[in-house]
């Protein structure tokens, strides 16, 4: 087997690993009873998503996904888990009314998504003949500092306000021991 025929197979293998990681992580995140396992599931899901971003030809976003989601978001959630006691109680027995409502909502949701998928499938999207840029990190930097400069500044403002707001909300009630 020469390298030209082995490469697609290997790539498909790595792609399937990324897909299974993302899906399994999402399932762990919503199905486990302990919150800390749920956070670990979210981290796993983000790792798989980073692989998918790599396959979507954006290694920069794959790095950012790991850095921001696993490094910042998941760690922050773990801090909150330590400060509060979020372990879930034993689930109660389901009542008949809630089961009826759940089945009605499930059928409605499936019908809604089916209809939306049909609608979007009727309007075909066209593949552009030529690309304006190559999507490299240099192109992203150029777009951030020229076309999207205003949005870039705005998001820095949003982050500053978020930090101050988080401090202001969480600060009262703390007192020295």
């Amino acid at each position: 087997m020469n390298s030209s025929s082995a490469a697609p197979f290997l790539l498909t293998l790595v792609f399937s690993v990324a897909v299974l990681t993302a899906m399994g992580g999402a399932l762990i995140a919503v199905l486990s009873h302990r919150i800390i396992r749920s956070v670990c599931g979210l981290a796993l899901c983000c790792l798989g998503l980073a692989g998918l971003y790599y396959f979507l030809r954006s290694p920069f976003l794959a790095l950012m996904e790991i850095l921001i989601y696993i490094g910042a978001v998941c760690v922050t959630i773990v801090f909150a888990v330590m400060l509060a006691e979020p372990d879930e109680p034993v689930p109660r027995a389901h009542r008949v009314g809630s089961l009826v409502w759940a089945s009605v909502l499930a059928v409605a949701g499936v019908l809604l998504f089916w209809g939306l998928t049909r609608l979007t499938a009727q309007a075909p999207v066209t593949v552009p003949a030529s690309r304006a840029s190559d999507g490299s990190v240099a192109a992203i930097g150029l777009a951030l500092l020229t076309t999207y400069g205003m949005a870039f500044e705005m998001i820095s403002l949003v982050l500053l306000v978020a930090i101050l707001g988080a401090l202001a909300v969480a600060r009262p009630g703390r007192h020295k021991p």
Partner: protein, 108 residues
Amino acid sequence: MNPPPLFDQPTPYLTISAFLLATGVFGLLRRPTLIGMLIAGELIFSAASLNLMTFNRFFAPDPAVGQVFVLFIMGLAAAEVAIALSIIIAVYRNYRSIKTTDLADLNG
């Protein structure tokens, strides 16, 4: 001519994105605690980002635009998590609990 391999088609990415959205909504409905709901919300954010990146990779005239957009989504998600967690901590101080069923003071 062979069809392109699976990772060069938009369909698997869109399917995974729909799956992530479904699990996120399911978790949002199922979780009885605020932190669990926050995690489910993050899954929905990820689904939206993956969807945008798929259309950016396959159908956008300029591939840099979608990446910038997803970068902004990540920044907003980080800010949202910081605010939401500080609110959760404040709620926990007042109620000694973050179960959604206990936060019923405004329940008529």
